[in-house]
Every structure is written in C-alpha cells, then in structure tokens.
C-alpha cells in the first residue's frame, strides 16, 4: 500500500519558498522594525545637529554640537535628570524589596489560591492613566482619603502631590502601588522554579532559614532578579503618564522627569532640535546602562 505524494520531487516554487523560509519568515517583522527605528534614529541625529525654525518655510540651519552643549547649562534639564534618577532609585528599590518579601510570604504560606495572586497582580495591568486619576483622588488635599486618615491619626494634613517636599514621594508611592506586583510576580515565578534538593541538603546540614535564604534562594533567584530590575529600571527611566496626570511635573518642577521635559520642549516650547538632543542623550545613556547591566549580570546567554 504505497502512497505517493504526487510530483516526484516537487515544483520549483515550493523549493524556492522552503529554501528562503528563514528570510521570508523574518522579513515582515524586520521591515516594520527597521523602518520604525532606523528612520527615527537618523531623523533624530539630523534634527539634533540643526536649528529648526518654528516657521516651516525657513530652511534648517546646521548647528553642530550647539544643542548638546545646551545640555550642560540647562538647569531644567539637570532638574529633570536628577528627578528621574531619584524616582528610579527609590521606586524600583522599594518595589523590589516589597515584591520579594511578598513573594517569599506567599510561596511559603499560601501555595494554592491562584486568585489571590491574580488580585495582587492586578495593579500592573491597569491603565496608568486610571491609576494616576485614582491616586489624584486619594491625594486630594481637601476631601482625599489620605488626609482623612492623617486626621484620624492626629497627624498634620498635607498637600501630598501638591506639596514641594512630598510631591516626589507621592509619585513614588503611586508607582510602587502599580509596579510592586510586577516584581512580586517575577519573584514568585522564580521561587516556583527552585529545586528542592539543595534545601533538603541544607536542612540536613543544619542551615537556618535565614542562611538558606542568603546561601540558596538569593543566588538561585539572581538571574530573575537581574531581569526584573532591568525591565523596571528601563520603565522607570521613561516615566511619563503618572507625572503628566498626577502633578504635571510640578510643584516647582519637583516631579518633572526627563520624558516630561522632552515632551514640553518639543510641544510646548516648539523646539524639536533641542528635544532631539535630549532624546539622544536619554537613548545613549539607557542603551549604555542596559548593555553594561546585561554584560555585568551575564544575561546574554
């Protein structure tokens, strides 16, 4: 009962298609990504090296490194850079510690109840705009919930997001609320994949729970922690939605992040050349940082 497959060795189109499959399957994605990254990159470099007049009829003028030199003296830029760094360090740091702690608790005490985990993960999926609105409502100085709690506790009322001293803190709290779940989820996944044997061996060797955590859990989790931190840091460095709605960068520029500043330069001050220069700076430092981080943590393999 021999079953034939038709034409003896197939037609030439089929052979061509199969032979070039590795290129054909890659092509659509590559074309989209090349157009949408190469073109903007070239534009940014050209724009940053010119002075673009607000009047579209006037030609662009070559400006050399002028736009980049402005970075050195622009205090607003320095403020934005400082704010972005402060935000990144404190927000990501807090999220990591809370996420890890929560994951350890759930891993140890509650193993089944998946819906609990889903609830705890919910904030990271919600639209940042809705999150910002919610926290704006909570921080509201007059009728907000937070001041009601302060009042009940007999503490002084605060303007929170509107207060020069507390604005950054308020933004960080809202971000921590939204993104701790992300850390939590990754740590939970990491914990779930830990092998049992080393713990059994350690327990037999008499290692305390604390020692087991330092000597086994943390080293095992290291790659997951590294990736989680990298992803969160990249996101934190581009923070926009939350500050745009919650504080608008204020008060007194205390929460103005680099992304927000670029937006203002480009659209409010109508200075795309300078915006391009700042963008290139951001791009360069982000890529440099992530490359260093990936190499350092040996994530590439």
């Amino acid at each position: 009962m021999t079953v034939s497959i038709g034409a003896k060795f197939g037609n030439s189109f089929e052979r061509w298609f199969e032979r070039h499959l590795r290129v054909l399957m890659l092509a659509p994605a590559m074309l989209v990504l090349l157009t949408l990254t190469i073109f903007p990159s070239i534009y940014m470099i050209i724009a940053a090296a010119t002075r673009i007049s607000p009047n579209p009829d006037l030609p662009w003028q070559f400006a050399g490194a002028d736009n980049f030199l402005r970075l050195l003296t622009d205090e607003q830029f320095h403020v934005g850079l400082w704010n972005t760094m402060v935000f990144t360090v404190f927000a990501v740091g807090t999220e990591f510690l809370l996420g890890l702690g929560l994951a350890l608790l759930l891993d140890r005490y509650i193993r089944r109840l998946n819906f609990l985990k889903t609830i705890l993960m919910l904030p990271m999926m919600l639209p940042p705009v809705a999150v910002a609105i919610t926290w704006k409502l909570i921080y509201e100085p007059q009728f907000g919930v937070l001041n009601e709690i302060m009042f009940r506790l007999g503490l002084p009322l605060q303007a929170w997001a509107g207060d020069v001293r507390l604005a950054m803190f308020s933004v960080i709290v809202a971000d921590v609320w939204q993104w701790t779940p992300f850390m939590f989820l990754l740590m939970l996944a990491g914990l779930a994949s830990l092998p049992d044997e080393p713990y059994e061996a350690a327990a037999i060797d008499g290692a305390s729970a604390w020692r087991q955590f330092w000597d086994l859990t943390l080293p095992f989790l290291k790659p997951v922690i590294a990736i989680a931190l990298l992803l969160r840091i990249m996101d934190a460095l581009r923070l926009f939605d939350l500050v745009f709605i919650l504080t608008g960068g204020g008060p007194a520029d205390r929460t103005k992040t680099l992304s927000l500043y670029i937006y203002q330069v480009a659209y409010r001050f109508a200075d795309p050349s300078y915006a391009a220069a700042i963008s290139l700076f951001v791009l360069f430092t982000t890529v440099a940082f992530s490359t260093w981080f990936i190499k350092r943590m040996r994530l590439a393999d």
């Binding site: 499959l21 399957m25 534009y43 140890r108 999926m125 809705a130 009728f143 830990l194 327990a203 926009f240």
Partner: protein
C-alpha cells in the same frame, strides 16, 4: 517546597496578616475609583469621605458615554488594541520561529535577536517626534492606522522575543517528524509548531492587548481629534487646569479597568506562565 520547616503559629498569623494588608492596599484604590464613579458630585467632595456611596447614581456614566464621546474613545481603544495585537502576534510568531529554528551565517542569529530586543529599550519619547513628523507628512495624524503602526513598533520586539522563547522550548523533532512524514518546513510550522505554541500565542496576545489598551504617550501625541483618540487620552482630557471632572473621569477610568480585570481572571493561567517564562528567559 513542602520540606521547609513547619512554622510556629505566630509566624503564620503574622504572615497572613501581612498578606491581608497587601490585599487591602491593592484593592482599596480600585474600590475607591469605582465607589466615586457612582457618587453624586456633592458626595465625592464630602468631608469626611463617604466610604460607601449613600445615593448611588449612574449619572457620570451617562455623562461620559452619552453626553461626551467616551463611547467613541472606548471603541477606538478596542480597534487599535485588537489590530495591534493581530499584527504583532502574526509577525512576531513568524520572526520568533525563524530565530528559534533556523541557522544564519555567522553570528547573525544572535545579532538580530539582540537588535530586536534592543529596539524595545528605546524610550517611546525618543521615537515619537520623528514619527509625528513622518505621519504629519503622510497626512496620517489623527488616524487609527498611525497609532496602530506606532504601537506595533513597540509591541513587535516583545512579541517576537516571547514567541522565540516559546518555540525554543518545543522539541524540534516534532517538526522534523512532520517533515519526514511529508510536510514542508512551512507545513510543519503551521500544522505542528503553531498548534503546540497556542499557550505562548495566548500569553503574547494578552500582553499586546493590555499594553495597547493602556498606552498613553504615543496616542497623546499622534491624535488630537475626538474621532481618533483613545480612552486614556479622553480621560486625561477631563483633567483640566481649571476643573477636574472627578465623577466623569472616575467613571471612565473605572470603565477602562473593567475589561482588564475580567481579562486578568479569565486568563490568569496563561498570564502567570507567560510572564514568568517571558521574563525569566528575557
């Protein structure tokens, strides 16, 4: 890890208490936006705050979705999210499969994979200005296709990477068996690899949907007209310098959250799996 030493009662109680606090802190803001969306303005502003709406009303939903164009925004969001997801998942699985399975000369496979991942690291604000200018030239500002193209640029690297790690986890012999059995490579991809990658496809699609549904900055810059704006832009538009329409934005904001919440519970299995391996494998 059942082997870890059974803990004494007090530790356990402290742990449960901590988890309970975490649950309350997680849920309260969501509850609060929902509660306020059902209050009359006067109740929203009441001091002390009204913990439970005393006179529930759907007034703000009516205001947002009937009097103001939030229905259009929501529809735009949906169309954009679904289209972006379709394009990203289709192109992403093709490229992901290619990178997972085929040999390329020299170090090209590694280079391309890394380059695709690195495009994900680009902050959106960096590419948005040139995109804005390009779409302006093409007369595509304030159109859904423009937003979809921009979103695809940001979702595709992620989709490719996720599908690549999923395909790499599938045993290659299955496709080889199919080829020996009489399939072409393409046929083996369609008949064997793709059906087996369904969980990965689901997880990837979920992420693309959520990211596109939530996105703010790109849409803010690429769309200025009611006809083209998305839900987040519509909500932000009601926070003005002079007045914040609390009831309305609460209603719209909560509405924007609803599909995500339903979604999260329906697909929780895929979600955990998807995120964990997507992230663990980079």
């Amino acid at each position: 890890m059942a082997h870890r030493r059974k803990s004494i009662g007090i530790q356990r109680i402290a742990a449960y208490a901590t988890i309970a606090v975490a649950l309350v802190v997680t849920l309260f803001p969501v509850y609060w936006i929902a509660a306020n969306s059902f209050k009359y303005d006067i109740d929203i502003f009441s001091i002390p705050p009204q913990w439970i709406p005393a006179n529930p009303t759907s007034k703000h939903y009516h205001a947002a979705f009937v009097e103001r164009p939030f229905l259009i925004y929501a529809l735009n969001s949906l169309i954009i999210a679904v289209s972006t997801t379709l394009v990203s998942v289709v192109f992403g699985s093709l490229a992901g499969y290619a990178l997972a399975r085929f040999q390329y000369p020299g170090r090209w496979r590694y280079q391309i994979s890394f380059w695709i991942l690195s495009t994900r690291m680009m902050p959106p604000i960096v590419t948005i200005i040139p995109l804005y200018i390009a779409f302006n030239h093409l007369g595509m500002l304030n159109t859904k296709p423009a937003v979809i193209i921009a979103y695809t640029a940001f979702n595709l690297p992620f989709a490719t990477w996720m599908m690549k790690s999923y395909f790499q986890d599938l045993p290659v012999e299955l496709e080889e068996a199919a080829m020996v059995d009489g399939d072409t490579r393409w046929g083996a991809f369609l008949h064997v690899a793709l059906p087996l990658a369904r969980p990965g496809l689901a997880a990837t699609a979920i992420f693309c949907l959520i990211i596109s549904w939530n996105e703010f900055l790109l849409a803010l810059i690429l769309t200025l007209t009611e006809r083209s704006q998305t839900l987040p832009i519509g909500i932000a538009g009601r926070v003005t310098q002079y007045n914040t329409y609390w009831g309305e934005i609460s209603a719209a904001g909560f509405t924007a959250c609803i599909p995500i919440m339903i979604f999260a519970f329906v697909v929780q299995k895929h979600l955990v799996r998807g995120i964990s391996f997507g992230a663990v494998k980079g």
